[in-house]
Amino acid sequence: MTVFIHKESERRPDEALYDHIIPAGEGWMRDLRPGQVLRIVDLEGNQAADTLFYDAENPEDHYSAVQTIAGQQNIYLTTGSVLRAESGKPLLTIVADTCGRHDTLGGACSAQSNTVRYAHETLPMHNCRDTFMLQLAKRGDGYTKRDLAPNINFFMNVPVTPEGGLTFADGVSAPGRYVEMRAETSVTALISNCPQLNNPCNAYNPTPVRVLIWES
């Protein structure tokens, strides 16, 4: 039986230095200084917060799903997970988590992957990689599509079976559940609050998430 570890945080929202709601389908990109703590709150439940990180001092070093998996020899993220860059450098550590499991294999939806997964007619629909690319375009700094690596899906459950199967499950998160992580270095965070309307995981109802930042 799989155990989901729930660890609550003692940080108070009224003491956060930053507090912002990201509506469904919107993007968010912001730098974190070393020691700052980022909390992402799943306000209404079963929403996917598609998230990428970069080493702010070396943006070519992006978050790496496989380095993160290799570092802990486990595919799921929860309290204690170290989120690593392609170089192996620790970018952030998850310090609290009331959801208990987050996905690092499922990646982000795109217009093109939607045509593959659902139907060619979904091509015009809004998607996470469009959000990522718009945020990178606004940021400048030399970021391009090359910097879009496989991302974390906070609050998503993508179980893998010992037989090699992969499925999408729902019901892991719930309204108000959150994940909290401490920056281990200067980090640029990029979030696409997923607008996916084709996947039953979110009951076809994308909802807002809240981001808060505290000093260490």
């Binding site: 070519e60 496989v66 486990n74 992957s113 593959v116 496989p150 010992p162 199967g165």
Partner: protein, 241 residues
């Protein structure tokens, strides 16, 4: 086997990169047991398009790769199909080795001391070839580890299966787009062997039969596969190719 148009024996620790045309087969054969080849793929004509592990896995509801699966790009197209496979499982979640991990596991080596017997690692091998191809570290992502099996238990722990690859095992890709392949014959990072595993791997390129959409097992495997093929065919139709 007069139809072989090119071949190479990839020595243990060696790397290689090059473009291979749409419509060709690439057959990898482990010449000794315990092989592992870490592979990245890019569209040779537009290297911003590359193999995408999440898109490949979720479209085919799989966490491993074998015959009938396709390797999808981040633009919803099929870069390559796996048309033959004697092993049943190739890994794409384990990543590749680093110099630090290689030294920690097998002992520190250097060219200064060991000359060409020093222990090479996947990331340095791939990084060098990526730069040679006009790419760089930012273009690194999940590799396909040919010949290696890593599965996950119910708690998500990644488990490497020793002895999965016997001598003579082979896997054949059919390229559905002109592809840049970047290869490193270096151990799987989760291989528990205490001695540096080293198996030479033969690579042979042959012509493929034309894809028949009505009967091809990779096209027919899932509706998702067919739509990815349709996206690929549209791409070439627009290019007039």
């Amino acid at each position: 086997m007069s139809s072989i148009v090119w071949s190479l024996e990839l020595a243990p620790g060696a790397k290689w990169s090059g473009a291979i045309a749409r419509g060709r087969l690439v057959r990898f054969t482990a010449l000794e047991a315990g092989a592992n080849v870490s592979m990245l793929l890019y569209n040779a004509d537009d290297k911003t398009e590359r193999y995408n592990m999440p898109d490949t896995l979720k479209a085919q509801y799989t966490s491993h790769l074998t015959k009938g699966h396709v390797l999808m790009s981040d633009n919803g197209r099929v870069l390559a199909s796996i048309v033959e496979d004697g092993l049943g499982w190739h890994d794409t979640i384990g990543g590749c080795t680093t110099r630090e991990a290689t030294a920690a596991k097998y002992g520190t080596t250097s060219f200064q001391r060991e000359r060409n017997d020093w222990l090479r690692n996947g990331r340095d091998n791939l990084a060098g070839e990526l730069v040679r191809c006009g790419l760089g570290m930012r273009d690194l992502g999940p590799v396909v580890n040919l010949f290696s099996k890593v599965y996950c238990d119910e708690d998500g722990n990644t488990i490497f299966v020793p002895g999965h690859c016997p001598a003579g095992a082979s896997v054949t890709l059919r390229l559905e787009m002109n592809a840049l392949l970047v290869l490193s014959n270096t151990p799987h990072p989760l291989d528990p062997a205490t001695a540096y595993p080293s198996s030479p791997v033969a690579i042979e390129v042959l012509p493929a039969d034309p894809v028949d959409p009505a009967t091809d097992p990779c096209v027919l495997r899932r509706p998702e596969n067919r739509r990815a093929f349709e996206n690929t065919w549209s791409y070439f139709a627009l290019l007039g190719q």
